[in-house]
Symmetry: C2
Subunit: 287 residues, 2 copies
């Protein structure tokens, strides 16, 4: 149903009895919105991220939140690895080189770097991070991680803070959620610890990195390169990055394939079915 | 030593007693050249490919050939996977989209395809092919292959001909050597069996694919996409490809990282040491 009413008017007129909301990643489910939906009991999002949802307010109002669970983890991990190979071996940059006919006129393109043996640090070893780690092992990378807590069952080296992780790795892959704790967690000090040869891959959320600082480091050659699927103010991308060959820019699409879309829609339906038949959620958010 | 003499004159003057030649990948070690080097006993190449060397003539003259062995296999496999992810998930094309500011002006970029569950066929399951297979398993791909003979020890599905392999896979990765048997092995029929959704990755040699036919198939949408590190007449790349977004072009650099360069030089030296002390080669070519 489309309506010409303003959202608040529309909701108070039609939505006072709504029990379930299916939210898109761009809907801001904040306190103002929740106040207009007094009967709401469930917010079901077909994505993995919940940074658009005020989780504290939901908890206080007894509203459950479900996500796509681990459904997109494989896609995100694939992109993370694709981006890492790209920046290490200069795939996109070399493609530009060939397409602009420089291979013929200027000769060989500079070499990239080997993946095997490189120390790769994963920030956030949840569903996505674990899939990334599994793939990195097949490439002969040495995997370490930072996470809220040490995962005893996993063989990777744990660092209790991200600064120490950055100081001991050749590449950082950001896979964690954006929360008040992780906002701008990758700051000047962490980037400086990563160093001139280090590269950073972000498939989490843009604001986990202090973007201004990242741009400064890249422009001044203070880190080796960056692969970014996410940015602080999407679709705005800092234009200083457009001129850099050690950067791969991806329009926030790590989690998106038609195959996963279909599966995540099925998960939303399963969560709705569970809700209306008083069963536990298929994929509750455990923040 | 540099000399202004023409090559044949130089060789007959100075090189009649030369026992060992270190050949570069662009040196054509053919019958004409070998005739000028009557004392030659070893051609040591710091690469994996030997298609620049007349192996029949070498065998007849009792000349051994050594290669870099499996030294570059990991690098080549990394690029093969990087290219496959790139074309499936549209990494280079999306990077172009962001850099030309289309994300801001035109909105979302089309989705790519999931890697997990895809049937990937490897053509040539030698050192490189095996490294590719190992990586594909970590991505949840279903691996099959075509090779001179079935490898009993490996769990992948074997197809005795490449046409049948193409008909039963979503992506083909060409990892075999260029020989008289494999020249233009990927022809019109094989590409047609791969089909409109199928993609092809070539990290072998350009002439293994009938390039004209490949370009025709890509231009007419008869196959889904291509990732090419090698071409028939390098550095010439068919210019019809420059306009296509479902193609990733790489300037023949799959095997090249500084790390592997250094290791392959060490292998050349080990082969020379073995030769001069009458020991078996470290990495003989077994054609």
């Amino acid at each position: 149903m489309e309506s010409e009413l303003p959202l608040d008017k529309f909701l108070t007129t039609y939505a006072r009895s709504v029990q379930v909301m299916i939210s898109s990643p761009i809907t801001r489910v904040n306190a103002d919105l929740l106040r207009l939906l007094p009967a709401l009991k469930l917010v079901a999002t077909p994505t993995a991220g919940v940074n658009n949802i005020d989780l504290v307010e939901c908890r206080q109002r007894g509203i459950s939140v479900t996500t796509s669970g681990s459904e997109f983890s494989e896609d995100v991990a694939d992109i993370a690895i694709g981006l890492l190979i790209d920046v290490q071996r200069k795939i996109s940059a070399a493609d530009r080189y060939v397409r602009t006919r420089l291979w013929t006129s200027k000769g060989e393109y500079p070499l990239g770097f080997k993946l095997g043996g490189k120390r790769v640090g994963i920030v956030g070893l949840g569903n996505i991070g674990s899939e990334v780690a599994k793939r990195l092992e097949a490439f002969g990378c040495i995997v370490s991680y930072n996470s809220k807590r040490k995962k005893q069952a996993l063989p990777y080296l744990f660092y209790s803070n991200v600064h120490e992780l950055a100081a001991n790795t050749d590449a950082l892959i950001i896979c964690c959620a954006l929360t008040d704790q992780t906002r701008h967690m990758i700051n000047k000090e962490v980037l400086s610890a990563l160093g001139r040869e280090g590269v950073i891959v972000n498939v989490g959320r843009g604001a986990i990195i202090d973007e201004k600082e990242l741009v400064r480091c890249l422009v001044h050659g203070e880190i080796g390169g960056a692969d970014l699927d996410v940015f602080e103010n999407e679709p705005h991308v800092p234009q200083e990055l457009f001129a850099l060959d050690n950067v791969v820019l991806s329009p926030h699409k790590a989690a998106l394939t038609p195959e996963s879309f279909e599966r995540s829609n099925r998960i939303v339906i399963a969560n709705l079915e569970a809700f209306f038949s008083n069963k536990p959620s298929v994929s509750p958010f455990n923040g």
